[in-house]
Symmetry: C2
Subunit: 222 residues, 2 copies
């Protein structure tokens, strides 16, 4: 619990958390793709993570991995670091939301608990990062997420953008240009069932967005 986990292990846990968020175990291949390493290397590492004491993951051959409670706590710690750092970099150093990810990616592994506490306090304990992602609490619980993907909305529904889940710099810049940032009020004007395109009105402008984009934007309807 208090033994220091390597950066590499922290990355594994973080991505396993993400990939198994839907309940289904994370697959070796998906994990390898996320981590940018070979599937064979992933197999080796998850076998190790499953056999340390206490185990950080649950693993059965060919069945993928899930986190144990210990593994999940470790993952949430890293995710909390990452998201607090993103918020901090934007608020105090003028980073834009498309620039912060990479920097936070490296810093998240090295900051102390003291540092974490200080930036959280300095920002008044924010609930979300600049992309709208929920920040795990100090006691490492992930707050409940009551948002839905924009892709599930249909014409005449209105919503407020809560979160954009993508590390893609270009996409983020594009969305910012369109005004599609957390807090933005939108209305669905049209839906095309064949390609799942949605026509969205933001302020006075309308835009057509593909499923690739609408599935990454999470909204609060109402």
């Amino acid at each position: 619990m208090s033994e220091t986990l390597t950066q590499s292990i922290q990355d594994y846990l973080k991505h396993i958390y993400d990939l198994s968020a839907d309940g289904a175990p994370a697959s070796t291949n998906d994990l390898a793709a996320r981590l940018g390493i070979s599937p064979a290397s992933v197999t080796g590492m998850i076998q190790r993570l499953a056999s340390v004491t206490p185990p950080l993951v649950r693993y059965q051959k060919h069945q993928g991995v899930t986190l144990t409670p210990d593994g999940e706590r470790a993952a949430l710690e890293v995710i909390r670091h990452h998201r607090l750092l993103e918020a901090w970099l934007v608020q105090t150093l003028g980073y834009s939301w498309d620039e912060v990810h990479e920097e936070a990616e490296r810093l998240e592994h090295v900051i102390s608990e003291d540092f974490e506490r200080r930036i959280a306090a300095a920002m008044g304990h924010p609930l979300r990062d600049p992309h709208g992602e929920l920040i795990p609490t100090a006691d490492l619980k992930m707050p409940l997420d009551d948002t839905t993907p924009l892709s599930t909305l249909r014409p005449n529904q209105t919503a407020r953008i809560q979160c954009v889940k993508s590390p893609d710099t270009d996409l983020l810049r594009h969305l910012e240009d369109l005004g599609l940032v957390p807090g933005a009020q939108i209305e669905v004007m049209d839906y095309s069932p064949f390609d799942h395109n949605l026509t969205i009105k933001i302020g006075l402008k309308s835009t057509v967005l593909g499923f690739n984009i609408t599935s990454k934007i999470y909204v609060e309807t109402g």
Copy 2:
């Protein structure tokens, strides 16, 4: 030059810079002590650093190591990161001067050049860190140091403390309690040639300081 140096290598270079500041090469044993590793490991690493292209150190068996211009640039980069970070942690997160070292020690290896630029600009390009250490310039030159060790002063000389060179948390707290911080105006009242103790007046108070301390405090006389 632009290949990323590992954290470990950055640490070697930083300490070689420091240990060879007096012109004499850094010894294997001293380096090992600084790095907290065995002398045998140091030998292995400096052999490697001497044989990469371009070489980062000059090394001859049993003669110690010095930095090449490339090695020195790399060292100054890390030192700049460290000192800027210390200043930034103190200024923006309320760290005290005895708390910053450890945190900066880890962050120095992972911040981007962009981050470096942003914090330098945010602080108005400071010349010294919270201990008074000179910060290498953005083009990686170490500014000239015109200070002298307090230990070289004699009775009736007055001086202004410019820098305290020690990572020792307890010592730093002690000195702060005594008011012996950068900027403090002091006067030497007495010198004991046998133990090299100095009696120092700061404001209204006087204190006797041993060589162990006075050799770590650097002052500007006048």
